[in-house]
């Protein structure tokens, strides 16, 4: 029954990584959002709106988390949201094939006593394994509505909506009624349930403690406090150990309850009593989950393991100790090769269009207008826009790697290499993402659990050639090394990777010596990515590339054009003067003042290098035919190497500062990059000159 209530409800969507949470979010709100397949890709909180029975629902997408006791920064985002913000209900999305493990989080969420709905996703995969789920039974055992879904296939969406409407309607009238604690109330009495009740009572009794916790976490209930405290939440422990009136009594009561538990479990008191209890509670909760799973999951007699085997079969090849790494290299090579081959097809058409506009512009009057259009706007921003297809295809393919599940495997394949740098394989994933854009790659380091790992990875990321550098490579490679263009571009990427690894190695030998603890990571099953998701993901990022071309790069193009025409065009312009003052720095590398200015402008965004060269060489047509007439091959190579290695763009540096928390890492990154770039370019140029003389 559609009722016109015109109310606004906030609903939080939460689940463990890879459970299809973001896909559900997209399906409900239609928002353009990124869907990933490796743990923790949704780094930002994202919200979207949709209409439900005349009410407006604000959906809050929270980063995937395995539990409410956070491990990494992005998991902390979810917990902090749930404990502090106001929301009307929780949708907890679970993966049917891993129901047992995922109920661990469900119980923690249920302890919050908020109206809650369980969406069991990936029923298609689950049923393909020959299993059946009794949703009514599950719903009864958890004391909350359960919807069976396959979000990818659109199954269960309508039911979810109607269940959600009902839940909100009901809880609006009597919120207290619907406490998720029901799930706990139904559990068989055990030493654990008794301890939970005892600790909850202690926490309620101590009003001082309550008010302390409530100031920081207004949404948390004493019951959640008790559960998380017993599961070993160190954050909560700080509160119990704080010095305040009555804290001694609190300590004593907590200890008394814990000791009583140990007696019931026939365990002797030990110093590590908290760790003992945390582990026992883990065992207990998983035991409860296993019991529920057993009661609700039935095996079909004619079951077929085809699906499970498919994932395992792919892993047999992809993760094989000897061929795993070569397979990875081939995948990366194909990624680049496809980007270029496909990109070229589109770019050829775009070039025809650009030339056409160019001819129109050349006929315009007055002359200065024609010039600013031809050399400033089209020669500058136009040349950057021309290369959009590469960017789109690169991001499209990267999201294929993520959504298919292969990205997580990269962590496995590269783990032993990363170990030599004191990192673990998981840190390699942000590096691969760096091929798309360094900014999201830096944001992805949040999923690393250790501060030192983060800093190391963030100093390595700028050496991963982002899609903004790709156009510069392609332009130069096409202009100078026609038939070997692909090989040259690939070597440039390779140079960047080697420089990144070298940087990591150097850091691990000098300022960041600590070894990371080692990797613990889930490898999600392979899934055929949804074209729609990949398209949305690539499009969002390409859009920002186009916007950048239309704003910053366009503005800079016009500014550069002005500077290069004032007081007179060319070698006597203001810009030429600026270039010349620092040109001595780059003389040993063979760069002229135009190339020098190109490097300077590349600091703003790497694509600008092209537009700068376009404007300053006053190219009216194709830059790639002009370049070989003004630059020698060794110098071109040195220039490319310099661009691979020198300072990341301004945006990258800004993110690097926020993510590592200190400006000094950004400063180090800039200086180290420049140093490495200069030395390498110098060597490359001179070696190339020698080779060419032979």
């Amino acid at each position: 029954m559609p009722r016109m209530n015109n109310k606004t409800y906030t609903v939080a969507v939460i689940g463990q990584p890879n459970c299809g949470k973001t896909t559900l979010f997209n399906a409900l709100t239609g928002s353009n959002q990124y869907v990933g397949n490796w743990p923790g890709v949704t780094v930002e909180k994202k919200s979207g709106k949709f209409e439900l029975n005349g009410n407006s629902i604000v959906l809050q997408d929270l980063p995937g988390t395995y539990s409410l006791i956070p491990w990494s920064d992005d998991e902390k985002v979810s917990r902090d949201y749930l404990f502090t913000e106001h929301y009307d209900a929780i949708i907890n999305i679970l993966e049917a094939p891993h129901l047992e493990r995922q109920l661990y989080l469900t119980f923690q969420l249920a302890s919050l006593g908020v109206p809650m709905l369980v969406a069991v996703n990936m029923m298609d995969e689950f049923e393909a394994e020959g299993k059946l789920l009794d949703t009514n039974r599950l719903s009864a055992l958890l004391g909350m509505p359960v919807v069976a879904m396959s979000v990818r296939l659109g199954r269960g969406l309508e039911e979810l909506k109607s269940q959600l409407a009902e839940l909100l309607e009901f809880s609006h009238q009597n919120r207290k009624e619907h406490a998720g604690k029901k799930a706990f109330a139904q559990l068989a009495a055990s030493p654990e349930t008794e301890l939970l009740t005892a600790i909850e009572a202690v926490m309620i009794e101590n009003t001082m403690f309550q008010s302390q916790v409530k100031t920081d976490y207004p949404q948390i209930t004493p019951f959640t406090e008790a559960l998380l405290y017993l599961l070993g939440d160190t954050g909560l422990k700080c509160y119990t150990e704080q010095q305040m009136p009555g804290s001694e009594k609190l300590e004593q009561s907590l200890l008394a309850a814990k000791l009583e538990y140990c007696t019931k479990k026939h365990a002797r008191q030990t110093i590590k009593i908290d760790e003992y209890i945390a582990e026992e509670f883990g065992i207990w909760l998983y035991g409860v989950a296993r019991g529920i799973a057993r009661e609700c999951i039935k095996l079909r007699k004619d079951h077929d393991y085809a699906r499970k085997n498919r994932s395992a079969l792919i892993d047999k090849v992809v993760l094989q100790p000897v061929i795993g790494l070569p397979v990875f290299l081939v995948v990366i090579f194909l990624l680049f090769q496809t980007t270029f081959t496909l990109g070229d097809i589109f770019i050829n058409y775009l070039e025809i269009g650009l030339e056409y506009i160019q001819t129109i512009a050349s006929k315009l009057q007055p002359a200065w207008l024609s010039s600013i259009l031809q050399h400033g706007i089209i020669g500058g921003a136009g040349n950057v826009l021309l290369l959009t297809p590469y960017v789109f295809i690169m991001f499209f393919l990267l999201s294929f790697l993520e959504d298919s599940g292969y990205m997580a495997r990269i962590a496995f394949v590269t783990d032993h290499i990363m170990h030599k740098l004191g990192l673990h394989g998981r840190a390699f994933i942000p590096l691969v993402m760096g091929f798309g854009c360094n900014v999201p790659a830096l944001m992805a380091i949040r999923t690393l659990d250790n501060e030192k790992d983060k800093i190391k990875a963030s100093l390595m990321i700028p050496f991963m050639s982002c899609s903004a550098r790709l156009p510069v490579y392609v332009l130069f490679a096409g202009a100078f090394f026609k038939n070997y263009a692909g090989l040259v571009v690939f070597s440039l990427y390779f140079t960047g990777i080697v420089a990144g690894i070298f940087t990591g190695w150097l850091l691990s030998k000098t300022i960041i010596r600590e070894q990371s603890e080692g990797v613990i990571m889930e490898l999600p099953p392979y899934r055929m990515p949804l074209i729609k998701n990949m398209f949305l993901s690539a499009w969002t990022k390409t859009k920002s590339y186009i916007v950048k071309a239309g704003t910053i790069i366009l503005g800079l193009s016009i500014l550069l054009w002005l500077l290069s025409y004032y007081p007179e065009q060319g070698a006597n312009s203001l810009l030429a003067g600026m270039g010349r003052t620092i040109a001595w720095l780059f003389k040993p590398l063979g760069f002229d003042w135009i190339m020098t200015v190109g490097l300077l402008s590349g600091f703003v965004a790497k694509e600008v290098v092209i537009s700068t060269l376009g404007i300053l060489y006053a190219s009216t047509g194709d830059l790639s035919t002009l370049l070989p007439t003004v630059i020698t091959v060794p110098t071109a190579l040195a220039y490319l190497v310099f661009i691979v290695l020198y300072t990341p763009c301004v945006a990258t540096l800004a993110v690097m500062k926020t993510e590592t928390g200190k400006a000094r890492w950004a400063v180090l990154s800039v200086s180290w990059g420049l140093f490495l770039a200069w030395i390498s370019a110098f060597i490359v140029r001179h070696v190339a000159q020698l080779v060419m003389q032979l």
Binding site: Y66, S67, I69, W71, P97, H98, E100, R101, Y104, L231, G232, T234, C262, K265, H266, A267, R268, T270, E275, Y276, A278, E279, E280, G282, I283, Y286, G287, S311, A312, D315, L319, P321, G324, A411, F412, V413, D415, H416, H424, G425, D449, E517, G518, V519, I520, M521, E522, L523, P524, P525
Partner: protein, 99 residues
């Protein structure tokens, strides 16, 4: 059969976790991913260079060698008896507390 470290486990065999010795952080992370004393682990791959690859609760996990050294396991009998889990878990709890 006696306890061994997960590091020395053999691919294709299945084991039960008996003890986790890592610090608080490691124990917590393993617990979040469903690995507690009593959990059954099916080893997929265990070679010299790479992390261990195993299946637990239906998911594939990779576990670094350093961490695999901190997990004690007991090989499962070829005759699997799921019903004995609970009782053996309780025994483990006692052993740990004495240690």
């Amino acid at each position: 059969m006696s306890n061994i470290y997960l590091l020395g486990s053999i691919p294709g065999k299945s084991y039960r976790v008996t003890e986790i010795n890592g610090g608080h952080g490691v124990q917590k992370r393993l617990q979040d991913l469903g690995i507690v004393p009593g959990t059954e682990l099916e080893i997929i791959q265990n070679d010299k260079r790479h992390p261990l690859l195993l299946r637990a609760n239906g998911t594939v996990l990779m576990i670094g060698k350093g961490i695999a050294k901190k997990i004690s396991v007991l090989e499962n009998d070829s005759l699997e008896q799921d019903d004995t889990i609970t009782s053996s878990e309780h025994d483990k709890g006692e052993n740990r507390c004495h240690a």
